[in-house]
Structure formats: C-alpha cells, structure tokens
C-alpha cells in the first residue's frame, strides 16, 4: 500500500492527469459561473419567473408611453409622412420643435452662465454659480434647479423628501428659497407648496392637484434674473428625464430623444423590442383618459361612458393593471414588482415630463392623465409582445439551469478544482529520491510571484471586463435594461469566460506548487530576494540567538542527581515571588495611573503564567497517566514529552528509566522460568535413557538361569533399587516442575462428588488388599470447584499412595467431601502405622518422610508435589496430625 502510494506520488503521469483534471474542473467551473452570471442578468437575480415579470416585458410597456400619448393608434396611418399630416402628427412635430428650442435654449444659457457642476455622494449632479466672478459661489442649485443653502449643498444626501426637514432648513437659513413644485415623499404621497401657509401641504387625491400647481414668480423670491433663468433651465432639463440628474443626458441625447425619428416609425423591430412606436400590438389593450383635453385614448373600444367594470371587461387580458387618481391597482395576473412600465411612465408624463406652465395651458401634447388601464393578452399575432415572449422563452431554454443550480455547480466544481490543485501542489516536488525543487523555484519569490500573478491578473481583469461591459451594456438612455445586458453577454460565449477563468487560475496553481515545493524542502526563505540580500547577517544573528538560548537553558536546567533539587526549589520560589511582585506592582500602577499600557502588561504577565501553568498541568497529567499504565503492568507505556518544560522532561525520563528497569526484571524472570523448565526436561531425558538400559538389562539378567544364590540375591537388590530410582526420578521431575510452576494447567468445572467417587474406585481395591476399608461421604448437593482434573487426580493418587505405604492395616480410611465459603474440600483421614514424630507443617517439605528411618520405598516428594499442585491451582493442601491420626485437606477454589 505504502509503496503504491509512493509510486503514485512520484509518477509524472499521475501529476499530468491531476493537472489536466484541475484544468478541466476549473474550466467547467468558469463555464457554470458564466451561465450563472447570464441567468442573473437576464432574470434579475432569478426573480423573473415569467414573461410578464421580465425586463423585456417592462421595456415593451415603456414603449407605449409616447405611442399612446402621441395618439398614433387612432390614426389609421401606415407611414411617417402620413402620420405627420394628422392632427396628432403635426402636433407632435410642432411639439418636438418647441422642445428642441427649449433644450437648446437651456443648454445655451447654462453653457454661457459660468455654472459649475458637481457630483455628490448620491451620484446626482448639483450646480453652483459664481455670480460676481470672484471665485466664491453665490448660489447653489439642486439638480432640479432648486436653489439651496450652502450647507444643504455640501451635506445633502438625497433620500426622499421630508417636509418637516425642508421647513427646518427654511428656519435655519432664510436665504433658501423654495419653488412651487409637486414633490413626493418616500411613500409616493404628493405634496405641494402653499405660500399662504408657508409650508408644503399634501395634494388632494381627488384629482385637484393640478389646480394647485402654481409656479411662483421668481423675482419675488429675492433671486436675480440670471439665477432664476438658470434655475428654470435646470428644472426644465431635469423634467425631461431621470438621467439628467445623473449627468448622463447631454444636449445631443436629449434632442435625439425628444425628436420623433422617422426611423422609429416602422414595423416593430424583431431584433430590438422596445424600440419603435408600439400602439397596436394585438397582445396589448389599453384605455387612457386625458383629463386636460377630455380625450380618451384606447385600442379596444372603450367609451367615455363606460363604467369601470365595463372597461375592464373590454380590456380582458391575462395581465392587467390600472391607475386611477394616483392609485395603482393590479387587477389580475402575476404578483410582481417589475411590470409598472406603462403606468409608471404615464405617471411621469403627468407630473414630470413637461413644463408645468405648458401643461396648464394645454400647449403641447403632453397631457395630464386622469385614469389609465392596461392589459396584456398572450396571442399568436405577430406583434412585439409575442416576439419578445418568443425571445424570452428561447433564452429561458438556453439557460435551462436555474441560477442557483449554476452557482452551486460552479462552486462545487471550483472546490474540486481547488482540492485537485492542492493535491497537485503537495506532490509536485515528489520524486523517487524525496522532495526536489525545480529550476523555476530558485528564482527569487518576488519575481516568481510578479510574473505569475501578473499573468493571472491580466485574465482576472479580462473577466472583470466581461462582467463590467456586459453590465454597462444594459445602460440605455431610457434607463437600465437587463435584456440589453444579457443580449450583449450572449455575444461573449460562456466558453470564452471559462477559458479566462482557466488562464487566470493556472498561474496561481503554478505559484502555489512552487511555494509548497520550497516550503517542503525548507528552502522557502532561501529563494527570496530578502535572503539574497540579508541572508548572511540574519544567519549570524540567529547563531548568536541560539547560543544565548542554550546558555539560558543551561542555567535553568535542573538536575536532582547533582544538587538534590536545590536549584529547582530556588528557581520555583523566585518565579512565584517574581510573578507576585510584578503583577501586584503592575496592578497597583495600572489602577493608580490608569495607564492602558501597564494594564496590557499585566494581562501579558497573567497570560504567560496561565500558559506556563497549563503546560505544567498537561505535563503532569501525561506523566501521571504513564506511571499509572506502568503500575497496571503495561510495560510498553510511553510518555509524550512534547511541549514539556525541561525539568518535566527530566521527570518523564526518570519514570521511563524506572519502566525500563522493570521491563528488564520481568524479561529476565520470564527467561529464568523458561530456562528452568528446559533444564528439567533435559535432565530428565538424560537420566531416563541410561536408567532404561539398567532396568531392562536387570530384567534380562533375571531371566538368565544363574545357579549362584548370591548372584540371584544381588540381582534382586539391583532390580528393587533400579525400580526405586525410576520412581525417584519421575517424582523429582514432577516436583521440580510443580514447584517452579513450569506446568500447564487446564482448569475446568469439576464435580467433586463424582470425582471423589472415581478416586475411591481407583484405590479402594488396593487399600482393601492391605486390609484397609475406604469410606466415602459426600453431601447431597454436588460440590463444584475450578481445577485441572488431571492434576487433582495426581494429588489424590499421591495421597492414596501415602496411605497405602504408611496406613495401619485393619483401620478405616475416610474421604469426606465438604464445602466452605471459598473452597470445595476433600478431607482424607487415616491412622498411621508409625508414630508421627515429624511436625505436620514439615511433612509437605521435599524429601521429608514420616518415617525418619527412610526405610520405605517412597521418595519423600508425594506430599510436596500435592501441596505445590494445589497451590498452583489457587487452592491449599493442609496436613495435620493428631496422635496417629493423619489428616490431609485438599481445598480447591469453588466454581
């Protein structure tokens, strides 16, 4: 396994595969990121769940503003020239000219006035005028042309309108004039300035607002003529469109926008929905009541007399909304935010898009609207809505993945690419001979990084460019169009974006690999510019520092063997005392002087002590754990000495050396035991082999027909003694094994009742032959012990052999089975043939025999073996004598 892993790590093929995999993953990640970006742009962060919510729909509805108001739908004209001949057309042309004059006049005035422009924090334009040419601004204008105070000019952040604030501003600076205009606050409620009350009052929602739209005479507000003209010009320009306050609309763009273009008067442009005049699309139905003229503009047969219900019925449609007296109502269709296109713009047409004076005089085609209705009905007719919907569906299909899925995929793939790349960086320097640096790594880090990061940055910039350009491609003179942006993005293929991501990522990967290689070979610092320049002095400094540290360590080293811990005690006391003095001093001073630095030092001091105490506790814990393991007999226990202070390391080493000593002792004990067992086996073999010859040849001698009486007697003695030697040797081997413990035990559950009966059966006949009667007494319930059956039977055999040797003829022998709390016992009692002059406790010793004369045939080992075997099994063999009564109790642990 290890070698295979090593082979993989060092194989150039594996690295190549990893590199390719990383590249592919990166590319795919970039691809999905691009898809995500496109989806977000197209569907406005995924909120456009249907066509009517999309910006394509929104853009189309905006196109109806001019169309409806220009009355294009009423004329059954088919060309621009025809349309110009109609009332609406000629009015429009006239109106365009008036507006063009006004725009030119306004720009002329502003260009010649010395007005300076400023962009403020809220990205809107404001203006200031140096009337006297002395370099000091005398008048400050709002983007709407309203004259404001210097303070307001400098600090105003446009954030909706609050009448109270304006009133306060008036009190503070009396020179700030206010102009009559309708303003809306954040909730869309309209206010108008009432000079009689000298305050803004809410507009009457019953449609009377128009009558209060009285512009005030400029001179009476204390402004000079130039200021008033500038104010009016700015106000006029601002009224033409929202983008003027952002400084986006130049003279040319405004002229273009407010001049009816012949090009726009054509069949709907399928490639660019939202351009051109749309008034007769089969999918769109509308009815707009113009209050100033009393006209009704409709394409679905609504009459002035129709009630609201009838109007709605005639509109029909899957999606409809209405605007009545300033109140929007969504009648049916999608619950969405994006689709206020038409009615929102109509609202602008009412209040913002024209000169109020002209509006009032009915001069021009922009007319206030009383009520408006719009509905959208999906149809198969070849109109702009259908075309737009087709485009939308097409785009949806192409971006089948939802933005969320794309984002998740992009992230996951990127993560995988990172993992792959990190693996690559880790193994990049691996060779069969260990980690190696490449020639490239030897270039100073600064240059390496500069080149690779530079390449990467180029592509990152390209990526940003794609995003940026795509986003700004959505900017149109009518406002931001996501549709436009997404169409542009579609021209930058996903593959290109993905390639840019890949090319931006690969140099970074190369740099990472290079850095990892140098770190792993510990040459990171060597291949830096710093090292080139400062290498030598730094090494010298480090050498000095090392020596210093060694010196300190030497001073602090504690050696109990040398000084009995004197140094340790002194150092500990000094450390505790030093800490106490320093901390109390710091505490006192920091409390006294309230010096933050001292307080900080106090905490540093406490922190250091805390750290040191933690290290001590950890060290002590490890040593205690190790000692406890050793105590439990785990002689391979180790103590982790990382992070330990020096004297604790010494402590751990001492414990370890105790462990080693213990280990050696145990090892040699085990070795001794083994050697003993081996010795016994060998000795017994070497003794038995010659004995075998002796026994057999003596037997053969007996078979020879020897006449000599003496010879026969000698042979008899030889026979007897050789047999005795045989018994002695066997017993001796047995005894040495039993006493040295070199014996294998197989403990089982043993039923003593049955066992005793079997023992009795084995020996009853032999005893009876000697005139002894054997009586067995067992309890009713079986007594069970844990013992090795074979060895226990050997114990009993020895005891019975004893009895047959030393028992008095004509007596009874008793074998009782009993049980105590811990033991199951067999008690054997008999009457000795000889007086027992040896103390009972000595009888179990080796070679001690009841008959001190040693005349019998026993080896003197029987009781000793029995005792050893019982002890080995966790039991006891107790011999007691009472006169001639000889009693042996064999006690074995109960099961």
């Amino acid at each position: 396994m290890d070698t295979r892993w090593k082979n993989i790590k060092t194989s150039p093929w594996a690295k190549l595969i990893a590199l390719l995999l990383t590249a592919v993953l990166l590319f795919c990640s970039g691809f999905y990121a691009s898809l995500f970006l496109r989806s977000v742009l197209l569907y406005n962060c995924g909120q456009a769940n249907s066509f009517v919510e999309s910006y394509a729909f929104h853009d189309l509805m905006s196109a109806y503003e001019r169309a409806i108001l220009s009355g294009a739908e009423q004329a059954s004209v088919t060309s621009y020239d025809e349309w110009l001949k109609t009332d609406q057309g000629s009015g429009m042309e006239k109106n365009d000219k008036i507006i063009a004059e006004k725009i030119n006049a306004a720009f002329d005035l502003l260009d010649g006035s010395g007005l300076d422009t400023f962009v403020t924090d809220d990205n809107r334009w404001r203006y200031a005028l140096d009337e006297n040419g002395d370099g000091v601004y005398d008048v400050y204008f709002n983007y709407q042309g309203t004259v404001i105070s210097k303070k307001a000019f400098e600090s105003l952040q446009y954030s909706g309108f609050d009448p109270e604030e304006i009133a306060d501003a008036d009190d503070e600076d009396a020179t700030v004039p206010t102009r009559a205009a309708v303003l809306t606050d954040e909730s869309g409620k309209a206010y108008v300035f009432d000079p009689a009350k000298d305050a803004y009052v809410p507009v009457d929602t019953e449609g009377t607002a128009a009558t209060t739209l009285q512009p005030q005479a400029q001179e009476t507000d204390g402004l000079n003529k130039q200021t008033a003209a500038i104010s009016q010009a700015l106000y006029y320009l601002d009224s033409l469109g929202g983008d003027t306050c952002y400084g986006l609309a130049s003279r040319e763009t405004l002229l273009e926008r407010y001049t009816m273009q012949k090009d726009n008067w054509s069949k709907p442009d399928t490639n660019a929905p939202g351009t051109g005049i749309r008034a007769n699309d089969a999918s769109a139905h509308y009815a707009v009541f113009v209050s100033s003229t009393g006209n009704l503009v409709t394409n679905c047969g609504v009459t002035k007399a129709d009630s609201e219900a009838e109007i709605l019925a005639k509109l029909g449609g899957a999606y409809a909304e209405s605007w009545v007296n300033g109140v929007y109502t969504r009648i049916s269709g999608e619950q969405a935010q994006a689709a206020h296109g038409l009615l929102g713009n109509l609202h602008d047409a009412l209040y913002g898009s024209s000169d109020p004076l002209e509006l009032l005089q009915g001069d021009g085609i922009y007319q206030p609207i009383e009520r408006a209705y719009f509905s959208y009905t999906p149809s198969n007719a070849e109109d702009a809505f259908t075309l737009a919907k087709l485009g939308y569906d097409d785009f949806s299909a192409r971006s089948a993945q939802s933005p969320a899925v794309c984002l998740v995929l992009a992230c996951v793939l990127f993560l995988l690419a990172c993992i792959c790349g990190i693996w690559l960086s880790v193994v990049s320097g691996e060779t069969a001979q260990g980690v190696r640096v490449r020639w490239f790594d030897k270039i100073p880090l600064l240059f390496r990084a500069a080149v690779l990061l530079g390449i990467s940055a180029c592509f990152i910039a390209l990526l940003c460019g794609i995003c940026f350009v795509s986003f700004y491609a959505g900017e149109t003179i009518y406002g931001y169009s996501f549709f436009q942006a997404s169409r542009f993005l579609a021209q930058a293929p996903n593959g290109l974006t993905a390639l840019a991501v890949l090319l931006a990522g690969l140099p970074l990967l190369a740099l990472l690999c290079s850095v990892v290689r140098t770190v792993r070979t510990r040459t990171f610092t060597r291949y830096t510019l710093c090292h080139w320049v400062l290498g030598k002095p730094l090494r010298w400094l480090w050498g000095k520092l090392k020596k210093l540290i060694e010196k300190v360590v030497y001073i602090l080293a504690v050696d109990y063997q040398k000084d009995g811990g004197k140094k340790f005690k002194i150092l500990s006391l000094l450390a505790v005392a030093g800490f106490l003095i320093l901390s109390s001093l710091l505490f006192f001073l920091s409390g006294l002087e309230r010096l933050p630095l001292l307080f900080f030092l106090l905490w540093v001091c406490n922190g250091a002590v805390f750290l040191f105490a933690g290290l001590l506790i950890v060290s002590l814990d490890r040593i205690m754990a190790g000692a406890s393991q050793i105590k439990q007999g785990q002689l391979d226990a180790k103590i982790d000495t990382r992070f330990m202070p020096g004297f604790m390391k010494q402590f751990a080493a001492d414990i370890m050396s105790i462990r080693d000593g213990l280990n050696q002792a145990v090892d040699s004990a085990i070795k001794d035991q083994k050697m003993k067992a081996e010795l016994i086996t060998n000795v017994s073999h070497d003794l038995k082999t010659p004995l075998t010859s002796i026994v057999t040849y003596v037997d053969l001698l007996k078979k020879c027909e020897i006449e000599d009486e003496d010879a026969n007697r000698y042979i008899g003695i030889l026979d007897e003694k050789s047999q005795r030697l045989k018994t002695l040797i066997e017993d001796l081997v047995e005894a040495s094994k039993a006493s040295s413990g070199a014996i294998e035990l197989h403990p089982v559950k043993l039923n003593l009742n049955e066992f005793a009966a079997q023992i009795v059966g084995e020996h009853a006949d032999a005893l009876e032959a000697q005139g002894m009667e054997l009586i067995l007494k067992t309890p009713e319930t079986p007594v069970t012990v844990t013992a090795d059956a074979q060895k226990t039977s050997r114990v009993m055999e020895n005891l019975f052999t004893n009895i047959s040797k030393y028992g008095l003829e004509g007596t009874r022998v008793y074998l009782d089975v009993l049980e105590s709390e811990q033991f199951g016992c067999m008690i054997l009692k008999n009457i000795s043939r000889f007086p027992l002059d040896t103390p009972a406790e000595e009888l179990t010793r080796r070679f001690v025999r009841g008959d001190s004369a040693r005349g019998g045939e026993g080896s003197g080992l029987g009781l000793s073996i029995a005792d050893d075997l019982c002890t080995l099994q966790g039991g006891q063999c107790i011999v007691s004598t009472d006169g001639d009564l000889f009693k042996v109790t064999v006690a074995l642990p109960r099961a």
Binding site: T689, T696, N751, A757, E762, T778, S793
Partner: protein, 229 residues
C-alpha cells in the same frame, strides 16, 4: 513369523529390545536413526515398528510422518518425554501407541503383541451381527462375551453389564449414576463407589497398563467412557 523394526540411537537399549523381541519369537530389524528405519521398512515386510523420538538426523516424529505417507503398519513411539502434550503430539503424528522410558519390558511386549494381532487380523475380521468393536476390543451381545485382540476376557455378570453399557455408547461419557441405573436397573443413591470399583477391576482385565488406559477412560468429575477407535 512377524518382523518388528526397532529404532533407537542408544545401542544398549536397541540390543535389549532385540533380545526381548527375539525371546517372544519375532524377527528383528535394527535401525539407529529415522533414515535407516525408513530404508528398512521399504526393503522388508515389517509388521510393527518401535521408534525412539529423540534421535540424531531424522527424529522419530518425522520418521512416523514419512512412514505414514505410504504405510499403515503399527508404530509404537518410545520416548523419555513423558508429558501429556508429548503423547498427544506423538499420536497426532500418526503413531498407534506411546510408551515412556524407562519402560516395563513386559508391558512393551504386550503392546507389540496387541498391535501386531490387530494389524494382521485387520480385514480378516468380519462384521458379525450383534458385535460391537472398538480397537482390539469386541463385545458379542448375543453370546454375551468380550474378547480382547481375539482372546476372550473373563468378566463377572456385573462387569459385563457395565462393559456392555459403555460399549453401546462408544465415545460417550456416562456418569456413574447413569451406569448404575442401566446395569442395576434401580435408582442410583450413593452408588458411585460401587460402580467405580467395578470399573477399576474391568480395567485390570482389558488394559495392558491400567494406570494408562487405552479403552476404558476416566473423565474426572464427570464419568467414564469407552474410547472409540
């Protein structure tokens, strides 16, 4: 005349074994190590082999293994190693019997005789109805007789009853109470001693060495069983 192979590196023992065997009327082949023993078996017809275990060159256990590859003659291992584990090892290597040194010459001759009788009778013995056989021991339940290696064994009625119960349950351990109930046909009450004494006597009659029984074995604390061969 039967041929017995004797193999021991101790010449004195080898000589004495030859004398005993020739006295018993066997033809004796000698070998001083395992290799010679194998060569002898391959060269001659051998009816029984006595092998020492600890020999220079090829030892007795290895020789047993080699012999068993081609031959099923009885093999008696003769060794100074007397541990139970040594015996078990020897028997599991394919030996038929295991005798420890110093051995009783009479016992060894009895074992040789028993092994040869069984080896030569093998195949000639026909399975008679009502006869239970284990090793050289066979019980004729119809004639109510027991024979050991073809020779009749004299048993009392009680002894016959115990033997027949044990033979009918070859290899199974029977407690003294079970044996008593089966033979005496009455519930056992403190009757263990009676049974065990009889068992001892039966063993005297059917075992070559009653202290190291081959057939009727004691399972300490549980009962007795007749070994199944």
């Amino acid at each position: 005349m039967y041929t017995v192979l004797v193999c021991d590196d101790d010449l004195a023992i080898l000589d004495s074994l030859q004398i005993y065997l020739e006295l018993e009327g066997y033809q004796v082949l000698r070998a001083e190590n395992g290799r010679q023993a194998i060569a002898q078996v391959e060269a001659h017809t051998v009816h029984c082999a006595i092998l020492d275990i600890m020999m220079p060159g090829l030892d007795g256990l290895q020789a047993t293994l080699r012999l068993r590859e081609k031959n099923n003659i009885p093999i008696i291992l003769l060794s100074a190693k007397s541990e139970d584990t040594d015996k078990i090892t020897g028997l599991s290597f394919g030996a038929d019997d295991y005798v420890t040194k110093p051995f009783n010459p009479l016992e060894l001759m009895a074992r040789v005789k028993s092994q040869i009788r069984r080896y030569t009778a093998l195949g000639a013995m026909e399975q008679k109805e009502g006869v239970i056989t284990t090793g050289g021991l066979s019980l004729d339940t119809l004639a109510k007789t027991l024979s050991l290696d073809g020779e009749p064994v004299r048993l009392t009625a009680t002894e016959y009853g115990i033997v027949s119960v044990l033979m009918e349950n070859l290899g199974r351990v029977l407690s003294t109470a079970q044996i008593y109930e089966a033979v005496w046909n009455e519930p056992a009450y403190a009757a263990e001693k009676t049974v065990t004494v009889h068992i001892r006597r039966i063993r005297e009659k059917i075992e070559i060495n009653p202290k190291d029984p081959k057939y009727l074995k004691v399972v300490w604390g549980i009962g007795y069983k007749m070994e199944k061969y």
